[in-house]
């Protein structure tokens, strides 16, 4: 197989583009896809400060690398989740990556700084671990960005993540979630702008980017995620993709073009109805935000 651009030997095939790429042309392809996503969806304006949520995994480290390559001022934010041997290992990968970069790494450790870990919190709140984890991340990323004076939080959600979440939301016709499943969530009501610059790239491409750039990411899967619903949706979509390359990208991009706006009013109404959490001040539909309730149930002192 030959590289579509330079006709040299290809090292990776991207079937949905019906193309192979050599190493250097592939890295260029990934950066171009991110640049297009940022421009098309007006994610980041010139001179804005970006906080990248990094986990030590392929997507977030690749995102940080690409944003720096594109000239953005981007710092990293790592959240220690207190998950067995997995969290120390993911922290080590993140720190090693950050040491090689000019960007600053901000760290928050759930057990040390907030008094609970994800396994304890999820059990106490009777939530699945990925739900307690996602809730904590959304809350703490927003808080850290606000306190640090950042204009935007960037996350490593890729095309596969977004297509899998979309499938889950469609299977249940969760219209409020569909209304806010966008590559950009604007600032307002106590929220910093949140962007997903990897939505034009699949997770296979992100892993390949890391291998080709020599980025040593944590390959092992989070033990708490094993067998979760999200993985099942990804498997189902990959089974379709194998027979019909491009199906995942079409599913997601056509949703954005043709359907997302239909659900926007419901999501906007829900957001407008928020008030301040009585304990931490974060935006919430109730008296106390979900994160403070999770923390209280986990037995942590505030």
């Amino acid at each position: 197989m030959k590289c579509r651009r330079c006709r040299g030997p290809a090292v990776i095939e991207v079937r949905r583009h019906n193309a192979g790429f050599c190493g250097s042309c592939f890295l260029r392809h990934c950066r171009e896809q991110v640049r297009r996503a940022i421009e098309d969806h007006r994610m980041i304006a010139e001179g804005e400060r970006v906080l990248v949520a990094v986990s030590g995994g392929k997507d977030s480290l690749a995102l940080w690398d690409i944003l720096e390559a594109l000239g953005y001022e981007a710092d990293g934010l790592y959240l220690g989740l207190g998950i067995g041997e997995y969290s120390p290992s993911s922290a080590a990968h993140t720190r090693a990556f950050a040491r090689r970069r000019a960007g600053r790494l901000v760290e928050i450790d759930l057990p040390t700084d907030l008094g609970f870990d994800i396994p304890t919190g999820s059990r106490a709140a009777n939530r699945v671990p990925c739900s307690a984890c996602g809730l904590s991340k959304r809350h703490l990323f927003n808080q850290a960005a606000t306190e640090g004076g950042y204009d935007v939080v960037a996350t490593g959600h890729n095309l596969d993540d977004e297509a899998a979440v979309l499938l889950g939301n469609v299977l249940r016709w969760n219209t409020e979630y569909l209304g806010r499943q966008l590559p950009v969530l604007p600032a307002g009501n106590g929220f910093v702008r949140k962007v997903k610059p990897l939505v034009r790239l699949g997770e296979r491409e992100m892993a390949a980017y890391c291998v080709l750039r020599g980025i040593d990411y944590i390959v092992e899967e989070c033990p708490m995620a094993e067998g979760n619903r999200h993985l099942g949706y990804k498997e189902a979509l990959n089974a379709i993709e194998e027979r019909s390359p491009g199906a995942k990208a079409a599913f997601y991009s056509e949703f954005l073009d043709k359907a997302a706006h239909l659900f926007a009013p419901g999501a906007a109404a829900a957001r407008a109805d928020l008030r301040s959490c009585g304990q931490c001040g974060a935006a919430t539909p109730g008296e106390v935000c979900a994160f403070c309730r999770l923390r209280a149930r986990a037995g942590a002192s505030s």
Binding site: V11, G23, C130, R204, A207, C222, E226, N228, E235, E242
Partner: protein, 66 residues
Amino acid sequence: MKVLLRNPRRELDVPGPLPVHALLERLEVNRESVLVIRGDTLVTGDAVLDDADVVEIRSVISGGSG
């Protein structure tokens, strides 16, 4: 060839020569969900793997949804 798989970590011996896509079919692995790495280099589906090769089949699927 030696084939390393992860999650769970295991090693298999598979006779070569064999194209990458045939190896993945034999192991019933969806090619959309993995990278194939020979030594420290990525290889495409049409590359032929030899008996002496050491190959990693690396899953690229992450489970977090938050």
